[in-house]
């Protein structure tokens, strides 16, 4: 990378400007390396150049130079730029051939007008406008995706789709048996927490037994479905986005398209159907485990017997409560699967995009789970269910 590879002198880099008649001479000395440049000295030389009365040509003297690398090249390039601006002749012949050839190489391909300078910050209104456009496009894309999913269902029901049964069973296993430990633990703790909160209040009125009602209704109507939904969004939704996203990156999705196999049928629908079928079962399990969590608190802190607690629980719940939870859970299943698969299918084509797809699948999933839960509750209230 230099005049010499091994005998690197330690002399400090120096640059001097001298003048002989109509000729400016830049003399470089010492060791020009990126590890110790002399930015201030360079700037000084250039301001000195600016102060010079008009000259005909600029010449270089590199005979005292012991080592050089890119740090020298950028000064030479800057000097050439200066010469062009000030209409001074740039004597590239005075450069050693290898330096001259590199400077020539750097200028061989002209700067491409890419229309992209350094990033400029948008104004406040531009920012809001852009965000609005992006979110409208996002909603449009999501609706399109849901439409395509419905079409895919139609094809599957008519037996006209290539359906990946292996993926279907595998996803089913992932969304059911393999999710039981985490769903169980979280639901148990949720039931427990609800029972504690209730116990503190209800004990004051001697109504400790009503903890069973509180836990049962809360788990069945709301918490069972919501907690399971959030767990599955983080666990399965993110996995869907990452799996499909990496298939997109490695052009596997395109390979399906070129074989006239709809990736919606082969990749998306099996996941969507499997998760939507398994969610209600998971939620039923979560409800039971949550009630067990409540019962543990009832038994150990309120002195309620197991049978009393069970009788109170059964008496407090109607079919409507359980069905509400199950309907919600099926809806949440669809939301998680659609968010995961849609983000995956819309993934960009690099490694970072896969990560972004997974993150946004989780955020989107959880947001819509909570929002749709609220909407369903309002509708139920209106219908007095």
């Amino acid at each position: 990378m230099a005049k010499t590879n091994s005998a690197i002198s330690t002399a400090a880099p120096k640059v001097n400007l001298s003048r002989s008649d109509q000729r400016l001479v830049l003399t470089f000395e010492g060791n020009w390396s990126v590890h110790h440049t002399q930015q201030r000295e360079i700037d000084q030389v250039f301001s000195e150049l600016d102060r010079q009365s008009p000259a005909e040509a600029l010449q270089f003297d590199l005979s005292q130079l012991s080592f050089w690398d890119t740090s020298l090249l950028i000064v030479v390039a800057r000097a050439e730029e200066w010469c062009r601006e000030h209409k001074v002749k740039f004597l590239s012949e005075s450069l050693p051939p290898n330096v001259a050839s590199l400077v020539a190489l750097a200028e061989e391909v002209p700067e491409r007008e890419t229309g992209r300078g350094r990033k400029k910050s948008d104004s406040f209104f531009e920012l809001i406008g852009n965000k609005t456009i992006v979110s409208i496009e996002g909603i449009q894309a999501a609706l399109e995706f849901i439409g395509e999913t419905v079409l895919s269902f139609g094809r599957i029901l008519r037996g006209k789709a290539v359906f990946d049964w292996r993926l279907f069973w595998l996803t089913m296993q992932e969304c059911s048996a393999q999710a039981l430990p985490i769903v169980g633990m979280i639901s148990f703790l949720t039931g427990l927490i609800f029972a504690f909160v209730g116990a503190i209040q209800l004990r004051q009125f001697g109504a400790g037994i009503y903890v069973a009602n509180l836990v049962a209704v809360a788990m069945a109507r709301e918490m069972g479905a919501i907690m399971t939904g959030i767990i599955m969004a983080g666990r399965t939704g993110a996995a869907f986005a990452a799996q499909i996203g990496s298939m997109k990156v490695s052009e596997e999705i395109d390979a399906f398209r070129t074989l006239a196999i709809s990736p919606m049928d082969f990749v998306v629908s099996p996941r969507l159907i499997a998760l939507s079928l398994m969610m209600p079962l998971l939620v039923l399990y979560a409800d039971l485990v949550g009630i067990l969590g409540g019962a543990v608190v009832g038994r150990s802190f309120l002195g309620i017997t197991w049978s009393q607690y069970w009788a109170q629980t059964v008496g407090s719940m109607g079919l409507v409560d359980i069905v509400t939870g199950l309907v919600k859970s099926a809806i949440f299943g669809v939301i998680i699967a659609v968010a995961g698969c849609e983000r995956g299918m819309k993934c960009g084509n690099n490694a970072a995009a896969v990560g972004n797809a997974a993150t946004s699948a989780v955020v989107l999933g959880i947001t819509w789970i909570v929002a749709s839960d609220a909407i369903i509750d309002v509708i139920q209230e209106i219908l007095k269910l």
Partner: protein, 284 residues
């Protein structure tokens, strides 16, 4: 060229790279044994061989991604394989590596990709780094693409950007893994020319792993041929010499003639050789 000439004129008697009796293995499976060769400063050496013979693995040993179990690797007379991890890191800073797909960091722009090694290992101001980055990108013909992300440019541009990053610390040694893989013939030829011009101007020692014949004949000063059957180096020298009748193992000649001695390396009928020299020795 001045730089290349100066490199040998310093009285530096050490080769830029020396490999002594290196054995390459994955666990207990030995891929190649007894690899020995030297590369003089400023030379371009090509590592050739059929697919799967261990060319890229050899490169991994050379740049320190795989630990040497048996044998030794020396750079300018200093042992790399027996150095402490700190010394190895210090030596690695004089290497530039261009990976097969460019291996640009996808979350960073081209300018940030090239700037990262400079920010890490030099005390330059951000203004100076910016100037160096645009110079490096200009050298590989990518001026104006500073703010692009790797996913927004073509494969050939990605390779050139990878080269700019490999050169960011002005390395004394450059390693290329399959530089022309996946590029069209013209782009790949331009890349070869770029490699040669950079070598001529900077005096960099270059090691290239490739099996592109056109590239091999254009850029190589010297080469080694790895043979999967005998598990060792079966030829060492300039490919233009190796291709001549009787100068090397028939397998090497067959490789360099694409398995057909009646055709030139790019597959055209040979007119330059007299009929008797077209002995299909490689095929027997």
């Amino acid at each position: 060229m001045e730089a290349a000439a100066a490199g040998s004129a310093v009285g530096n008697s050490y080769p830029a790279i020396e490999v002594r009796g290196l054995e390459m293995a994955y666990g207990s499976y030995v891929l190649m044994r007894d690899i020995s060769f030297t590369v003089a400063p400023g030379e371009v050496m090509v590592i050739m061989g059929g697919s799967g013979c261990g060319k890229s693995t050899l490169l991994k040993y050379l740049i320190g991604l795989k630990e040497v179990e048996k044998g030794e690797i020396l750079y300018c007379g200093r042992s790399f394989s027996k150095a402490t991890p700190e010394q190895q890191e210090e030596m690695q800073r004089t290497f530039g590596v261009l990976y097969q797909g460019g291996a640009l960091w996808s979350s960073l722009t081209l300018a940030e990709n090239v700037a990262l090694p400079l920010e890490q290992y030099t005390r330059l101001s951000s203004e100076e780094i910016r100037e160096i980055v645009s110079m490096k990108l200009a050298l590989v013909g990518l001026k104006g693409f500073e703010e692009f992300y790797p996913s927004e440019i073509s494969g050939g541009m990605r390779k050139r950007a990878g080269l700019a990053r490999a050169m960011s610390l002005d390395p004394a040694l450059l390693f290329f893994d399959e530089p022309s893989a996946g590029l069209d013939p013209i782009t790949s030829r331009r890349l070869d020319e770029l490699i040669l011009r950079l070598r001529d101007s900077l005096g960099t020692t270059i090691v290239v792993v490739t099996h592109e014949l056109a590239s091999i004949f254009t850029i190589a000063d010297t080469s080694i041929f790895l043979d999967a059957e005998t598990k060792t180096v079966i030829a060492h020298g300039n490919p233009r010499e190796l291709v001549k009748e009787g100068h090397s193992d028939p397998k090497v000649r067959e490789f360099l003639l694409r398995g057909d001695p009646t055709k030139t390396p790019i597959g055209l009928p040979r007119k330059d050789l007299p009929a008797e020299s077209l002995d299909p020795a490689g095929k027997s």
